[in-house]
Symmetry: C2
Subunit: 211 residues, 2 copies
């Protein structure tokens, strides 16, 4: 019913999963899919799928299901993935290099537009077709690029200052791989990928206390 107002984050996360499944199915030539089958592929349940999709308005056909291709496009649009986003990647260590080679970025409509590092050894080198630039140029480079997303792949100690530099350069969303909590203005959206957290959860589950 709330056709396009706020969608809760857990739902958005699942919508991203559905999008991936739908791409696969479309590439397999599937025409329609039921909430049940989509749920199975994405590791959810049919009621959840229908609830999630209801945030986009009425879009399925009772007795039939959803049009795979149409639903895919509708989802991509709702998630803001349709137009594509430019990304600034800061930190060209081993993780940064791995990220710059990751094809998932392109597949989802993200383009890495520039690489930054402050190691003189790395500046000027080319990684994945892009020249590594000094961190000091972040702001000036992005005056032209107008990238909206920054990815932080630097050591923990530098993460906060890099984050602030990204915000100063006009970035509105940040994906942070450094294991620190960033303190940033409210209006900046931050997602943290923290191996420490993931490993701790696995470890806890192995103790047997988690059922």
């Amino acid at each position: 019913m709330p056709v396009s107002s706020h969608i809760p984050t857990p739902t958005v996360e699942r919508l991203a999963a559905y999008l991936g499944c739908l791409r696969e199915m479309r590439d397999e030539g599937r025409q329609t899919v039921s909430s049940q089958e989509l749920a199975q592929r994405a590791g959810s349940n049919s009621a959840q799928v229908r609830k999630d999709l209801s945030h986009l308005g009425q879009i399925g056909t009772p007795g039939v299901g959803y049009q795979v291709s149409a639903l895919h496009d509708r989802l991509a649009r709702a998630l803001g993935l349709a137009e594509g986003h430019k990304v600034l990647l800061v930190g060209v260590g081993s993780l940064g290099r791995a990220l710059s080679l990751y094809r998932g970025f392109r597949q989802e409509g993200f383009t890495i537009a520039a690489l930054f590092d402050n190691d003189p050894q790395k500046i000027g080198k080319r990684v994945g077709g892009l020249e590594v630039r000094p961190l000091a140029e972040l702001q000036s480079v992005n005056r032209d690029l107008r990238a909206s997303i920054g990815v932080i792949a630097v050591p923990a100690e530098q993460a906060q200052s890099v984050a602030e530099a990204l915000v100063a350069a006009g970035v509105k969303g940040i994906l942070n791989f450094a294991p620190v909590r960033l303190r940033l203005p409210e209006h900046i959206s931050v997602r943290a990928v923290d191996l420490t957290r993931e490993l701790a959860v696995l470890s806890y589950n192995l103790t047997g206390a988690g059922r």
Copy 2:
């Protein structure tokens, strides 16, 4: 009150964050900390911190706070991090290499015990002091090692079969970096790090619909 029964996953995730903050504070020589200050560092709130810590039993001192070092150790024990875990890393592409160099593993008590790949070009090479072994040896190698955690850093197409091989080798927890949903027995604990999901959430938040 539930001194050591099941701790919900959102709580476990935050406990991991507190643990990191406590390590910092201990290294800074801090003796005690209040729920308020811990909350501030970890990006939570004081009531949440107290509720979370209450899962470990009574452990603080009213009017004073918590003993930094004691709480750190108590947390590490509760999360099962105290004894350390051996980890099998499968996939020595750029991401796998980055992971094998990541010092966060060691810091949390995880030891990468073996590397696997099925690319003949990579087998036999040394990465971070470990020889890359063929995937086929997974089971036999782990008969001795008895590692309980597997990390999957292979392309999406191979992730499911690698996951099954890891389970067959006796692994009980899996950290999956491939953008696919793994179908595994109930008793195996899986955490997925999915860039696609993270980017989609950022993208959605940039649309302005998310407040």
